[in-house]
């Protein structure tokens, strides 16, 4: 009201704390004054709420007797569990290795100039990604009812060797084949994406040097595709470690099935599921650490500085329980 009448915007619209600002302070006083950062109470409150919730979870884990931790630890390292664990481990490893070999082939087919190869690769990935792995697994397990006999020979001609499908396709082979073909489809897309991320100039330069096609792929393109391939592959590997548990439906004695065999006898369902759970967590943790080191290895010559290699430094950098260290950014000239 007053300011418009006076034709001035001065002071009256601004509250009276302008007076405190107008007090003259000497430079020496300003330089010796302590800097007080802005308080952020919201952060403290949300942290406290989360800590409370975590404490409640921890409390119930310890105090609820029905978790039966004693039973969990008594079964944790026993023979049947460890045998199941071993099967889970080597099935995962075999499936990943064979799946990736096929997947790299599919990726190269998809990127080739031959339209038939491209179409076949595309069709395979489309089909396999469309069918749930459990359904694929059951199909391979039931292959005998579709083809009672399998033979090796001339296409549309004479057969040299013939076997009964039911004898060949045991639960374990069905599991291996189904999961391998599944991994092949997904890894093909991961590898293709990685290869596409490498600049075309790289393979042209290698061609101009007279390197062979295989050497260009192995030595020049693939190492540069790895930073794009590894995170997705880590996901696939960890996913597959756990996905092997579906083989329990066709009675393959993996970690989960071994646990089920025991709790079907003694009905200690929860503690035995915890045994399997803890083992899966342990394995996944180990794989995650491994992934970190593989990623670090392939960060050579990259734009970003290489991450540290010592476990303690890594933990400090990644786990939030340590205060964040103030570091100046290292720039690469």
């Amino acid at each position: 009201m007053t300011n418009t009448e006076q034709g001035s915007l001065r002071l009256s619209a601004i509250p009276s704390d302008t007076e405190t600002n107008s007090v003259v302070v000497s430079d020496t006083e300003l330089l010796s004054a302590r800097l007080v950062p802005l308080r952020k109470p919201g952060q403290w409150i949300s942290a406290a709420v989360l800590l409370l919730l975590l404490a409640m979870v921890a409390h119930t884990l310890v105090t609820n007797p029905r978790f039966q931790w004693g039973v969990v630890w008594s079964y944790f390292g026993t023979g049947p569990i460890l045998r199941g664990l071993l099967l889970t481990l080597w099935l995962t490893a075999a499936v990943l290795v064979c799946g990736y070999l096929i997947g790299i082939g599919l990726a190269l087919m998809r990127l080739s100039g031959n339209p038939i190869l491209r179409a076949v690769s595309f069709g395979y990935v489309w089909l396999v990604r469309s069918v749930p792995p459990l359904v694929q697994l059951l199909f391979w397990y039931e292959l005998a009812s579709l083809y009672p006999e399998l033979s090796l020979g001339i296409p549309f001609g004479r057969a040299f060797v013939t076997v009964r499908t039911a004898h060949l396709f045991t639960g374990l082979l069905a599991a291996f084949v189904a999961l391998t073909l599944d991994v092949a489809a997904f890894s093909a897309e991961i590898v293709r994406g990685g290869i596409l991320s490498v600049e075309p100039g790289q393979s042209q330069a290698a061609q101009a040097l007279g390197l062979s096609r295989w050497r260009i792929f192995r030595r020049i393109v693939l190492p540069q595709a790895m930073p794009a391939i590894i995170p997705a592959s880590g996901n696939l590997l960890i996913g597959m470690l756990k996905a092997t548990s579906i083989v329990s439906v066709i009675a393959v004695a993996d970690l989960l099935y071994s646990v089920q065999l025991i709790y079907n006898q003694n009905f200690l369902i929860i503690p035995l599921l915890l045994v399997a759970t803890i083992w899966y967590v342990v394995l996944t943790t180990i794989l995650s650490v491994g992934q970190y080191y593989v990623e670090r290895h392939y960060a050579r010559g990259g734009n970003r500085p290489r991450p540290p290699s010592r476990l303690w430094t890594i933990a400090r950098a990644n786990l939030p329980i340590f205060p964040r260290r103030r570091t100046t950014l290292v720039s690469v000239s």
Binding site: A208, L209, G210, S212, R213, R215, Q224, R300, N303
Partner: protein
């Protein structure tokens, strides 16, 4: 000028990208030990011509002959059959190429970039290749940078490593595809200096560049391309000073 057969003979070279004709019948000779500079407006086909010389592009008609061998093809009974990749690989190993974007391998050190070719083609042991690489790095003014990664070098340094990498194959012919176009102006001189020194050693060079000064000073022959054809060619003193072709005249007056 000894009357020997030219090191590079290009005859009737054509290349289309879809409906667009990039090279429209190129005939060109490069004599042993000479520096030929290709000039012309962008889109004239200079880079495509260069890339046809080591078969990074497959021509649609015509051929490129280097040291008496047709690049990428073998003649038999009236036909040119495209050669297997191993034969092409051997031919390419004798032709060095330097790219506008350097195309150093970023995951390998400077040293590994240089020794990769000689080792992969079985041309040298690791020890010999390493010795040669150190020598070449000294020559391009980068002695002591063996263990650096390409990203740690400036553009001009990277391009000099790329030149050393190409020279490590002991090529008979060097192709330069706008080697200074991606560089900051103050770094251009170092790279041109290395190229001049190389020319003085008697290396046969085919250079696409916009550096008219380099052409005037170093080139034995300047070839002016426009619309996929050679419209003017000859000694720089003639072509650069008094072009007869209208397009060449307009281009030179614009860049000089």
């Amino acid at each position: 000028m000894t009357g020997e057969a030219p090191l590079v003979r290009i005859r009737g070279l054509r290349k289309n990208f879809g409906a667009h004709t990039v090279l429209d019948g190129i005939d060109l000779d490069v004599q042993q030990g000479e520096v030929t500079v290709l000039l012309g407006p962008s889109g004239a086909g200079k880079s495509t011509l260069l890339r046809c010389v080591n078969h990074l592009e497959r021509p649609d008609a015509g051929f490129v002959e280097v040291a008496g061998e047709i690049i990428g093809y073998r003649y038999r009974r009236g036909r040119l059959y495209e050669t297997r990749s191993s034969a092409l690989t051997a031919q390419r190993a004798r032709i060095g190429m330097v790219f506008q974007q350097f195309n150093l391998f970023p995951h390998l050190t400077v040293l590994d970039n240089i020794i990769e070719g000689p080792i992969a083609t079985g041309r040298a042991t690791r020890r010999d290749a390493t010795a040669l690489a150190r020598d070449l790095l000294d020559q391009v003014g980068l002695g002591g940078r063996e263990q650096s990664y390409p990203k740690q070098l400036s553009g001009g340094q990277q391009q000099r490593v790329a030149i050393a990498r190409a020279l490590a194959m002991r090529p008979r012919l060097m192709l330069f595809d706008e080697p200074t176009s991606a560089l900051d102006p103050e770094l251009v001189g170092d790279v041109l200096g290395v190229m001049k020194a190389l020319a003085r050693t008697g290396m046969t060079m085919l250079v696409v560049t916009h550096e008219i000064g380099f052409a005037r000073e170093v080139a034995d022959t300047v070839v002016f391309l426009d619309g996929g054809r050679v419209v003017e060619s000859g000694a720089p003193s003639i072509v650069l000073a008094d072009p007869r072709n209208e397009r060449a005249k307009a281009f030179l007056s614009a860049v000089l």
